[in-house]
Symmetry: C2
Subunit: 123 residues, 2 copies
DNA sequence: TATAGCAGTTACCTGAAGGTAACCAGATGG
DNA sequence: CCATCTGGTTACCTTCAGGTAACTGCTATA
C-alpha cells in the first residue's frame, strides 16, 4: 500500500505553540485588555473582569510581567499605590486580540441563530 | 476618597471569552491547521502534530466537529476510510491563526534574542 | 470604634485537561 | 503466521489551572 505521507506543518505549528504557551488560559488576554482599557489598580482590574479572583489575578499579573507585557510600578505614596500599565510590547497583541474579538463576535451570532432556529425537541 | 471607577470593558471581553471557550487548549488550533494543510486521516493528523495522543486527538476532533469547524466522513471502502476535512466555517479562523502565527514568530525571536544577549550569571 | 478600602497571601479543594498504556477488530504485507 | 496498518476506546493516573474563603497590615472614612 502506498504510504500517504502526512503533510508536514511543523513550521506552521511551532509559532502557534509558542503563542499559546504565553497566552493560553482563561484570563491572560482579558487582563491585558482590561489594563489597556485604562484600569491600573489591582482592585480596579479585578472588578473589571467578571469572575476573576484576587488569587488568580495576582498570579496572572506576575506571569504577564515576566513576559514583559505589563509593568508593575509601586508609587511611594501613603498608602502605597500599585499601578499596572501596559508595556509597549503589549501592542503587538493588538492583531491577535482584534482577530479573536471579531471571531468571537461572529461565533456568538452563529450560535444564537442556531439556537433560535432549532426548536428544542425535548432533549 | 474619590472612588475611581474601573473602566468597563465587558463589550470587549465577552467575544474574547466566547472565542477562548471554543479554541482554548493546547490542541484545537493545531488540529485545524493540520487538517487545513491537507491531512485527512486520523493517523496522518496524529503524526503531523508532535506530542498528541490518539485519545486526546479523538476527543478534540469530536469537539471541533460539534462546533462545525471540521467534518468527519466515513468512506465505505474496504477497509473503511475515515476522512476529516475542514468545513467552510474553519476559514473564518484564518485571521486568528494568522495573527497568532505572526505573534508567535515575533515572540520567539524576542525570546531567543534575550537569551543570547543576557549572559547567564550563574543563576 | 467599626467598617471599608487597599494589595495581596495562605491553605485547602475540585474538576478538567492531558498523559500512559493496553487493547479491539478487520485488512494487508512479508 | 506474525507483524503492522487502520480508527479509535478503555482504564488509570497526574498535573495544575482555577475556585473558596479567610486573613494580613495599613489607611481612611463615618
Amino acid at each position: 500500500m502506498k504510504q500517504r505521507p502526512h503533510s508536514e506543518c511543523q513550521s506552521a505549528l511551532l509559532p502557534i505553540r509558542d503563542a499559546l504557551e504565553v497566552l493560553s488560559g482563561k484570563w491572560k488576554l482579558q487582563i491585558i485588555i482590561s489594563i489597556s482599557t485604562g484600569n491600573q489598580r489591582f482592585r480596579e482590574i479585578e472588578r473589571s473582569i467578571p469572575g476573576i479572583t484576587s488569587k488568580v489575578l495576582a498570579k496572572e499579573l506576575k506571569d504577564l510581567e515576566e513576559h514583559q507585557l505589563i509593568k508593575r510600578t509601586v508609587h511611594d505614596t501613603i498608602p502605597v499605590a500599585v499601578l499596572y500599565t501596559p508595556e509597549p510590547y503589549a501592542c503587538s497583541l493588538d492583531n491577535v486580540i482584534k482577530a479573536l474579538h471579531e471571531w468571537g463576535t461572529g461565533h456568538r451570532k452563529k450560535i444564537i441563530q442556531r439556537e433560535t432556529t432549532e426548536l428544542p425537541t425535548g432533549e
